[in-house]
């Protein structure tokens, strides 16, 4: 099977006011692969991630120059519908952020705001999404209980289920396991391995071992620039760039 490119950033610059947070980023995100973004705090990796579904539009004074293509169409084209883009490119955040609703309603939420009324379809989708997020067996007997009663790891998988319910094509994850204990982290990592069969995943992580464990491709960002991108195996065993080498071997600064 030939790998095809799902998303492409092309000469992307991003500004917060006058501050240029991203400089000339060009990066391909391959379909059904996990792409990890690594780099020190403030390097632009989360900013880049948020550019991939126009989440940065919400920040006043921010500005994008360059293109981000989703299936070869520029998501920043004025004719594109931002709600539709965010449905196709879903997001999971660092801290689990379930709504103060039942487990069922959390997952059904996206379907309802997209206009679904079919109870059977909603129930099927909730079940399928919870199964995909490896949470179904733990919650199937208490779908009407509040989501806030779940553990942190369960809440994060619930948020993943919520993201999957609207059948996105790409899932962006911003440090999805940084607030979780090692067992919950392992579950999320296993889940990422399973999800990439059906979805394209881009993950930001501060944990290099996690990037090494879950991703196929790793991109190293530093001071708003993409320094190096390569297969994860190559990048962590023989990086080409000295800055990458220094960062991943802990010799930075």
């Amino acid at each position: 099977m030939t790998a095809s490119v799902k998303m492409t950033a092309r000469n992307l610059d991003f500004y917060y006011g006058d501050f240029k947070a991203l400089q000339d980023i060009s990066l391909d995100v391959v379909e059904n692969q996990v792409t990890a973004l690594i780099g020190p705090s403030g390097c632009g990796k989360s900013t880049f991630l948020r550019c991939l579904n126009r989440m940065n539009d919400l920040i006043p004074t921010s500005r994008v120059v360059g293109d981000v293509l989703l299936d070869n169409r520029n998501i920043y084209d004025p004719s594109e519908d931002v709600v539709s883009i965010r449905r196709r490119v879903g997001m999971v955040f660092q801290k689990p952020n379930p709504f103060p609703k039942t487990i069922f309603e959390n997952v059904a939420y996206g379907l309802r705001i997209n206009g679904s009324r079919d109870k059977g379809f909603i129930a099927e989708t909730v079940e399928r999404s919870l199964k995909q997020a490896a949470l179904w067996d733990e919650v199937k007997d208490r779908l009407d209980a509040t989501a806030l009663g779940l553990s942190g790891g369960q809440q994060q998988r619930l948020c993943i289920a919520r993201a999957l319910a609207v059948q996105p094509e790409v899932v962006l994850m911003d440090e999805p396991a940084s607030a979780l204990d090692p067992i919950a982290t392992q579950k999320i990592e296993e889940l990422i391995h399973l999800l990439k069969k059906s979805y394209t995943i881009v993950i930001v992580t501060h944990n290099m071992q996690q990037a090494a464990r879950v991703s196929d491709v790793t991109a190293f960002f530093y001071m708003g620039k993409l320094v190096e991108v390569d297969s994860t195996e190559t990048l962590f065993t023989r990086p080409q760039n000295q800055q990458t080498e220094d960062y991943i071997t802990g010799r930075f600064g």
């Binding site: 071992q209 065993t237 023989r238 991943i248 071997t249 802990g250 010799r251 600064g253």
Partner: protein
């Protein structure tokens, strides 16, 4: 600021350098003992082997700890993996030195064979390779390492020449068969030492350039 991990990695490198120095000394001394027919010197090599064996165990321990606790990456990872292989080669070099010394025990108590200058060339060439390989490791010098790899063919040729000379000699001197066979074993140990030097050089190339050049692969 140097991290705790890098201080531990430096310690591992120092242990490897110490082991390399002892293995090199063992082989140099074993060759001296052979040419000088000095049994006392040979006994010294045999006695000192235990220290080298213990260092190999220590390197295994240090490396395993770093791999388990620090999850090293890139060059650090390559250094530890290759360091484990280098320790095995150094331990085997020391074993070759012990093997030569055991032949010296036997040969020292019997009349000498006629001097063969090719044997001296073989000893010199394999020791040159060993010293250069260790220097390449200490200085992390991939060019020196590549030089070592080009020297191995000469050592193989010298070993074959020694073998031919001794076979010719044995055909005419039946009472010298046992001494000749023991000497062939010594030559074989020298040739094996050169092979270990080549392995060490290949490991250095892997550390420095990230390239696996074993068996003419380059991935």
């Amino acid at each position: 600021m140097e991290s705790h991990f890098h201080r531990e990695l430096d310690k591992l490198k120092m242990t490897l350098i110490q082991m390399a120095a002892l293995s090199e000394r063992a082989m140099v001394t074993a060759c001296q003992a052979f040419f000088a027919r000095d049994v006392d010197l040979a006994e010294e090599v045999i006695q000192n082997d235990r220290e080298i064996n213990l260092l190999e165990v220590e390197i295994d321990k240090q490396s395993l700890k770093l791999l388990a606790l620090d999850q090293p990456m890139a060059r650090d990872l390559r250094f530890i993996v290759a360091g484990l292989r280098i320790a095995v080669d150094l331990e085997r070099v020391a074993d070759q030195a012990v093997n030569i010394s055991q032949r010296v025990r036997f040969l020292g108590s019997r009349p000498p064979l006629p001097r063969d200058p090719v044997m001296e060339q073989l000893s010199e060439a394999s020791l040159d390779m060993l010293k250069l390989a260790i220097s390449a490791f200490v200085n992390q010098d991939a060019n020196q390492a590549m030089d070592v790899c080009t020297m191995d063919d000469k050592v193989d040729e010298l070993n074959v020449m020694v073998l031919k000379n001794l076979i010719d000699y044995m055909m005419n001197e039946v009472p010298a068969v046992e001494r000749s066979v023991q000497t062939i074993i010594v030559a074989r140990c020298m040739e094996r030492t050169a092979d270990h030097a080549t392995n060490i050089a290949e490991s250095v190339t892997f550390i420095v350039r990230g390239l696996n050049i074993k068996h003419h692969s380059s991935t």
